[in-house]
């Protein structure tokens, strides 16, 4: 079998390795600066207030967390769905998943008003709260995916890796359902209150995770001079296109349903028509750049590596836009306490809430990317994550092409 | 290699022992000025060892169960122990709470929310926390 001929090797770490690590380190320091400023002075120095209570850190953290779940996709395709051609790609997939989750969770926890109370969060539980359940889901995620990664790397344990892969797949579906439900359970806000948000987040995770995986794989292979064949690229490209199409489907159904309910016309008009930056990010960021452009780039004949990677970057931009529209847009639309009445108050009832992210909270959010990047870069150097060759001949010697 | 192990252990011990002495001489020993002579709710030895447990359990009884007028009351402590000079239990290393807590380097979380100064009650109709 072709797979037994594949050897895994850590990257050499020459070239721009330490430069890249230093750059990520600098971004991490900026994130730390943002955090310490926020922790010391309070959220008064941020763009968040009592109307927009979750801001840029949550946008970035949730993107990372959702993408983390999806980054495990490639590994699941091998272990759960038995597509053995993806098996050499699985270790990097699991590691990327852990790294992105670590980065996202760090940002989320550091944005807490009382981040010194993490022990309280870990010892006092209200099990009706999605956040409390998340403590277990996320801890379990690290344990299970960590075990899965180890079982894949430790050759003597390889026969258990499929079982771990199935467990990881089920666990992360539960986890992402929970993430979507954080919003879906909120009956108070018109932009949320929907059971569709949970499966939608799962499908979005497939797209974001696979896109980030492709970017990481291509970057790692290029940096270490390892060949990346077009067989595996084409397979990943088609997988990615399917996920993007499915994402577009879910978003369409979500908004069409909301448009059917007369009581939701206000919030839909806000998001789709006159919400300013929210509308711009929805149509341009999420739909055009996040779905339409990648579909064109990926599905039009003659897709080159450059086109595929451009599509991946576009999906990431679309993902961040989607999170902004969901999180900020959902808060910007005022609560409708008295339907049929126009409200006015000193607490901003009845008016659209604006949000201007500050530097400190943006730094904190970007620090999450830095954490994920540093983990991946160091892991590639220390662990044997990446196959030596992923070209056509190695992966599929009998392929006619 | 027992000798290597012993060397490593000694190195670790030294690494741990040094910082322990780093702060000696910089933080003054606690100065407890008792502004209102009289009886605290328990003898000093008991208070020193258990005031944190008393507060931790009473706070739940007061807040969650609605118990009022209990023997243990943070406002009660403050009314009695606040320094006459600053009117507070914080503010200098000679003030009651801060004095010991600065010495043993245990961060005081209470006063992020609780008022450390006396005489700040808004309602006119209460004697507020007088023991």
């Amino acid at each position: 079998m072709a797979n037994t001929a594949i050897t895994f090797r850590a990257i050499d770490g020459k070239g721009g390795f330490y430069g890249l690590l230093a750059a990520c380190g600098a971004l991490l320091l900026l994130g730390a600066y943002g955090y310490f400023q926020m922790e010391h002075h309070g959220h008064i120095i941020t763009g968040m207030d009592n109307q927009i209570v979750w801001g840029m850190p949550h946008v970035i953290a949730l993107f990372l967390i959702v993408a983390a779940s999806g980054a495990l996709n490639v590994a699941s395709t091998a272990s759960v769905f038995g597509k053995s051609i993806y098996k050499p790609l699985a270790p990097l997939s699991a590691l990327l998943s852990l790294a992105l989750m670590g980065g996202g969770l760090a940002v989320l926890m550091l944005d807490l008003g009382r981040s010194d109370r993490m022990i309280v969060a870990a010892t006092h539980f209200n099990f009706k709260s999605m956040f409390a359940l998340n403590v277990f889901l996320y801890t379990g995620f690290f344990t299970i995916v960590g075990a899965y990664l180890w079982l894949m790397l430790e050759r003597r344990m390889n026969r258990w890796s499929q079982a771990a892969g199935v467990a990881a797949f089920i666990w992360r579906l539960t986890l992402t359902t929970g993430t979507g439900s954080v919003f879906g359970f909120l009956v108070a806000r018109e932009a949320y209150q929907s059971a569709l948000l949970a499966p939608m987040f799962i499908v979005l995770s497939f797209a974001y995770g696979t896109a980030l995986y492709l970017l990481t794989l291509a970057a790692a292979c290029a940096a270490d001079g390892r060949p990346l064949g077009d067989i595996i690229l084409n397979k990943l490209k088609n997988l990615l296109a399917t996920f993007v199409a499915a994402s577009l489907y879910f978003v369409t159904v979500f908004h069409l349903t909301n448009l059917y309910f007369t009581r939701n016309h206000g919030v839909e008009q806000f998001i789709l028509l006159d919400g300013g930056i929210i509308t711009g990010l929805f149509w341009l960021g999420q739909i055009a750049i996040g779905y339409v452009l990648p579909l064109v780039l990926l599905l039009a004949p003659g897709a080159t590596l450059g086109r595929i990677l451009t599509a991946c970057v576009a999906i990431v931009i679309g993902g961040l836009s989607q999170m902004y529209v969901t999180i900020i847009g959902g808060q910007a639309w005022p609560l409708d306490l008295f339907p049929g009445y126009a409200a006015k108050s000193s607490f901003f009832d009845g008016e659209i809430h604006s949000y201007a992210p500050s530097l400190v909270e943006t730094f904190l959010g970007l620090g999450g990317f830095a954490i994920a990047a540093i983990i991946v870069i160091i892991a590639l150097k220390v662990l044997r994550l990446l196959p030596e060759k992923l070209d056509n001949a190695t992966l599929d010697p009998h392929h006619s092409k | 290699m027992p000798r290597r192990l012993l060397q490593l252990l000694l190195l670790l011990l030294a690494a741990v022992a040094l910082p322990v002495h780093a702060g000696e001489g910089h933080v003054p020993k606690p100065v407890l000025t008792i502004e209102h002579p009289g009886q605290c709710i328990a003898p000093p030895e008991v208070m020193r060892r258990t005031h944190m447990d008393m507060l931790k359990h009473q706070r739940d009884k007061t807040l969650r169960l609605g118990e009022r007028g209990a023997k243990i009351s943070l406002n009660g402590c403050i009314e009695c122990h606040a320094s006459r000079k600053t009117g507070s239990v914080l503010g200098s290393n000679e003030n009651f709470c801060q004095s010991c807590h600065a010495y043993v380097a245990v961060k005081l979380d209470c006063f992020e929310c609780h008022q450390p100064k006396t005489g700040m009650l808004k309602s006119a109709a209460t004697a507020g926390g007088q023991p």
Partner: protein, 258 residues
């Protein structure tokens, strides 16, 4: 590697098993007093509640607001709340200042009819803020008052996202001028406490007292469970409504004249 059990291996297994059993036993012993204490506290609570020393579920505190008597432009209740609870305007943007009660001026879009009313935490019987709080800091007391336990609040603001009445505020900066009876601080979420520190002394919330002393007398406070209280009698005879009643949260605050 030989499968033969050497005496040392047998001893190792025995030690391992004993250690595991001891650890499990110690773990249980460590937990058991905690579990005992919880039972002890619960038993105590129910006994004391009967004697009236603790908040009791026999009582349900509520408010009735007569919007026909509430005047546009009058903010007596807001001022009284700010004074009582020592809520000062923040040093940041206006949107970052805490507001436990606010006056909402309403105008019916089709008819132009105007209404003025105060809005604060509705002290729901089924509070969504309590459901979503990860640490259980947001809780409902036995007598119906919904509070934030700032000892466990981690400042995640999930309750602020969940509240259908936008009742909660987040403290964005360090505070120093708190009322000793109303602890509040940076990084925790807060909302109207129905002046629990006054109610427990047998007084009325500051907003109700201010409104009663003023010329409007639009606010009434009392025990919804007591059929002889004025509020219960008014609710049983006059038309009143709850805000966003379709959500079935059963708020303790009712309005007349909407």
């Amino acid at each position: 590697m030989s499968e033969q059990q050497t005496p040392d291996a047998g001893r190792r297994d025995f030690l391992g098993a004993t250690a595991a059993a001891t650890a499990a036993g110690l773990g249980f012993v460590a937990l058991a007093p905690g579990m005992q204490l919880i039972k002890f506290a619960e038993a105590n609570a129910s006994t004391n509640a009967a004697t009236g020393q603790f908040a009791s579920s026999k009582v349900r505190w509520g408010m009735l607001i007569d919007t026909t008597r509430c005047a546009t432009g009058c903010t007596d209740c807001v001022t009284a709340c700010a004074t009582e609870n020592a809520i000062q305007p923040g040093s940041g943007r206006p949107g970052q200042s805490s507001q436990w009660i606010r006056k909402i001026e309403l105008k019916e879009q089709k008819t132009g009819r105007e209404i003025s009313l105060p809005m604060m935490c509705q002290h729901c019987a089924e509070p969504p803020c309590v459901d979503v709080c990860p640490t259980g800091a947001s809780f409902k007391r036995a007598d119906g008052i919904v509070l934030v336990d700032r000892h466990s609040c981690i400042g995640c603001r999930y309750c602020m996202m969940a509240c259908p009445y936008k009742a909660r505020s987040f403290v964005h900066e360090p505070l120093t001028q708190q009322n000793p009876e109303v602890p509040r601080g940076k990084g925790c979420v807060e909302s109207c406490t129905l002046c629990v520190h006054r109610v427990d002394k047998g007084e009325q919330p500051a907003c109700v007292e201010a409104c009663s002393k003023g010329e409007h007398t639009a606010m009434l406070f009392g025990d919804l469970n007591n059929p002889d209280s004025e509020i219960a009698k008014r609710i049983a005879t006059t038309a009143t409504s709850q805000v966003r009643a379709d959500l079935r949260l059963d708020p303790g605050v009712r309005f007349q004249g909407i």
